[in-house]
């Protein structure tokens, strides 16, 4: 933790963390006054928000649907298969995505066979690239993210359903009045915690999928830190300052959502 002071110093190896010179807010000024940074910032916010808007609810819906499956065996098989992509690294996934989405990839071949006009690759189309990032991220993590909700669902007391049946409720009503309220706390806490990492916006994924044709819309804060900080030793303090800025923002997001969650339900909030 104390390493964040590097952001306010001009770090060099000879003097170490404590000995390096204080430079105040110089490092912060450098990126706040840099036009490029704000593009990066905007990209990060857009990608993060798309990830929240779609990436958050979809695993919950998946878990609920899976929970409605009658055959226990089929359920287990689906559950196991659904989390497979989580185990394949983005480097490998990017190769597979390329075989599907490149100009002469499977998708375009399919479109041509069906008599359509081939489209420019999603990988190089700046208009679609962010949606492409978010879509593939959801695909990869869907099953994995659903596990926590499945765990919560398994804690729902079956007696509640039995009571529901006696009252003559149908399945949709059971879902709405029994299942969802039972896992509401988990959903809420996951939502709040989500914001702690949301600004990371999937660095591993961006690192392998970014390319010069789309870097204007795809460069996120973490990639920026990687680009300017890792490659040049002198930028260590600068990169730390950018990272600190991102963390402060994340903290603010967590506090805001936590406040919102608390308004709705005391149990669903962190504090």
């Amino acid at each position: 933790m104390f390493g964040v002071i590097i952001a306010f110093k001009n770090f060099n190896f000879l003097d170490g963390i404590w000995g390096s010179k204080w430079v105040g807010l110089t490092n912060f000024k450098r990126f706040l006054l840099n036009g490029d940074f704000w593009i990066v910032f905007k990209n990060t916010i857009i990608i993060s928000m798309l990830r929240v808007a779609f990436g958050f609810p979809i695993p919950i819906i998946f878990a609920l649907l899976l929970n409605e499956i009658r055959s226990q065996k089929f359920k287990k098989v689906v559950q196991t298969i659904s989390y497979l992509p989580h185990f394949i690294s983005w480097v490998v996934v990017s190769g597979i995505l390329f075989t599907i989405f490149s100009s002469d990839g499977m998708l375009n071949k399919l479109i041509e066979t069906l008599g359509g006009h081939s489209v420019t690759s999603f990988l190089s189309n700046a208009n679609y690239f962010r949606s492409f990032l978010v879509g593939t991220a959801i695909w990869k993590e869907l099953g994995w993210s659903a596990i926590i909700y499945l765990a919560a669902l398994s804690g729902v007391d079956p007696q509640l359903y039995e009571a529901g049946i006696m009252d003559g409720t149908n399945r949709a009503q059971q879902l709405w009045h029994i299942t969802i309220p039972s896992i509401r706390n988990v959903i809420s806490i996951m939502f709040v915690l989500n914001f702690a990492n949301v600004l990371n916006a999937g660095f591993d994924q961006v690192l392998v999928l970014i390319n010069p044709a789309v870097s204007g819309v795809a460069e996120i804060i973490d990639y920026y830190i990687y680009r300017v900080g890792i490659l040049q030793v002198n930028n260590y303090s600068y990169a730390t300052a950018v990272g600190l800025f991102k963390s402060v923002l994340s903290l603010a997001l967590v506090l805001i959502t936590n406040w919102g969650a608390k308004k709705i339900d005391e149990e669903g909030a962190i504090w």
Partner: protein, 288 residues
């Protein structure tokens, strides 16, 4: 459970639901099948086409090649060690931390929570982390791969949330009966929280199994390198220059085989944990 209740009636919803699940399965299993086929195909096939559905010939050369690679055995040992021991340590630490934070009248509870959240969001960066590990004399020891990340604060808070959903009356009555806090945790809370424990066991095990960056940073000795480090170097070498006319099996199949070898073992643990996810697992415990 639902199945029991509605037995006999098959709704249109069920049909659609099953169809959705089948589509999801196809989408999800595609990359795995793809890699599996490449890993057992002869190279000429792989080179000829990007898309192979059925391998024309099966060859396990690439698996043989990878398993012969210097140090695979010891890397497996290290990885299994850190996965097993690390998961155990992580679960214990996380459960302890989560339980303490559920106690409503704990002095300074909100302060602790705030500190936990802050460490989750802020991190000191590489150099300070390295110095801490160094001062704890853990450089070049497997413990450096287990201890620094023993508690994932994110999951600790989720676990706390699950603990909180257990009726307070249970632990309070135990407290009145004179149970110590440890006993309450062990005898009441944990048995009622098997689904979340299984989930976290899975999450911790998988992340420990995938230990890569910390190993690069903290481990210098080849003997203590976990599997992923070795796998990555094998993987990267697909694109390295070569110095001789005779080549090992070509890059693509070796890569696919290394991924299989590195992933299959950890994939196998999920089905074992799945039984803790069965609905109603806690009913008996609550009643008894």
């Amino acid at each position: 459970m639902v199945a029991k209740v509605d037995r006999g009636k098959i709704h249109i919803f069920d049909v659609i639901n099953v169809l959705i699940m089948i589509i999801v399965c196809i989408l999800m299993i595609y990359p795995f099948i793809y890699l599996l086929i490449i890993s057992i195909s002869p190279i000429s096939e792989v080179m000829k086409s990007n898309i192979i559905l059925i391998p024309k010939k099966i060859s396990f050369d690439s698996y043989k090649y990878v398993l012969r690679y210097a140090g695979v055995g010891s890397a497996y040992k290290v990885t299994i060690f850190i996965t097993v021991v690390g998961t155990l340590i992580s679960l214990i630490m996380t459960a302890l931390g989560a339980y303490v934070l559920t106690i409503k009248d704990l002095p300074g509870r909100n302060l602790f929570l705030t500190l936990v959240i802050i460490t989750m969001i802020f991190n000191g960066g590489l150099i300070p982390s390295y110095m801490v590990v160094k001062q704890l004399h853990m450089i070049n020891q497997v413990w450096a791969l287990i201890i620094p990340n023993a508690i994932n604060t994110f999951w600790m808070i989720v676990m706390r949330n699950f603990f909180q959903s257990i009726p307070v009356s249970l632990s309070e009555s135990a407290r009145i009966d004179g149970c110590s806090e440890y006993k309450i945790l062990l005898k009441i809370i944990l048995p009622l929280s098997l689904p979340i424990i299984a989930t976290l066991a899975l999450f911790y095990a998988v992340s420990l199994w995938n230990t890569y960056f910390n190993a690069i940073l903290y481990i210098n000795s080849k003997k203590l390198q976990p599997l992923q480090v070795l796998i990555r170097s094998m993987y990267d070498q697909g694109s390295q220059g070569v110095q001789s006319d005779t080549l090992p099996p070509p890059a693509e199949t070796i890569r696919a085989a290394t991924i299989m070898i590195a992933t299959l073992p950890i994939l196998c643990i999920y089905p074992f944990l799945q039984k803790y996810f069965a609905q109603g697992i806690m009913v008996g415990a609550v009643k008894g």
